[in-house]
Symmetry: C2
């Protein structure tokens, strides 16, 4: 057993370092928790989404979304309204201030992602995407079968 060559360890060390470097932007500069940032990012494309879909899209559970949404609503970054078609659902929608925050934040995190990707040749980026997808699939299989 050599910890340094153990893939799960290497992945965690990498993901932790990458996470911290992204958190420097959303946490330190914009005072968001990781889950709040993920919910905002989930909303970035369309500006609106049901809570349940935000959970699926951002790999969060319903409790994490509920708390993140409460924080984002308090900060005036989104609104939460009851879905008239199924009153159990909540429809989340970015406010002008939420969109404005994303306009500032997104380029900053994308610049960090671009800096990371400079470590890879273009064809390597596609290979990495593909490998991450396959590995994630298998890790989830392992998790499920205990």
């Amino acid at each position: 057993m050599e910890l340094q060559r153990f893939l799960p360890y290497q992945l965690v060390v990498l993901a932790d370092a990458v996470s911290r470097s992204i958190a420097q932007v959303y946490a330190e500069r914009f005072d968001l928790s990781r889950d709040e940032w993920r919910v905002l990012a989930a909303l970035a494309k369309t500006g609106t989404m049901k809570s349940r879909d935000a959970a699926l899209y951002a790999t969060l559970d319903k409790m994490q979304v509920s708390r993140a949404v409460a924080g984002l609503e308090r900060a005036g970054l989104l609104t939460r309204t009851i879905d008239p078609e199924d009153r159990r659902n909540r429809i989340l929608e970015l406010t002008a201030s939420g969109r404005e925050l994303l306009r500032k934040l997104v380029p900053m995190v994308e610049a960090r992602e671009a800096f990371l990707l400079e470590a890879l040749a273009p064809e390597e980026r596609a290979q990495l995407q593909s490998m991450i997808g396959r590995l994630t699939e298998r890790a989830q299989q392992l998790e499920r079968h205990g």
Copy 2:
């Protein structure tokens, strides 16, 4: 901004799934915390190491090592003695029971790693290693420069 295509997000989702699948072994079956498992794994090769080196080798800080070592000592898995050459250091050493635990645990986590690696062709494994190394280096650069 598309969260699903954002490399930091993909890496965290992958590392979390992989971590949980490995934790099922060391936490559920052997009642170890993540940091305890890392310290044990650091000791796996030689059986002995200074606390400070364990921290460097396992990417933990001195406080995490101190707590993990206290737990492992309580469980009888290692001993902690003062280094006669520099009495500030602690020398960690696996007990027979610690070695025995690793003899059972290591093949189980390695089997899980092998299952993950089946998702990749042999040449992809080498490419992934190389990419992880380069990305980790750059992520640490980002972290340091805020």
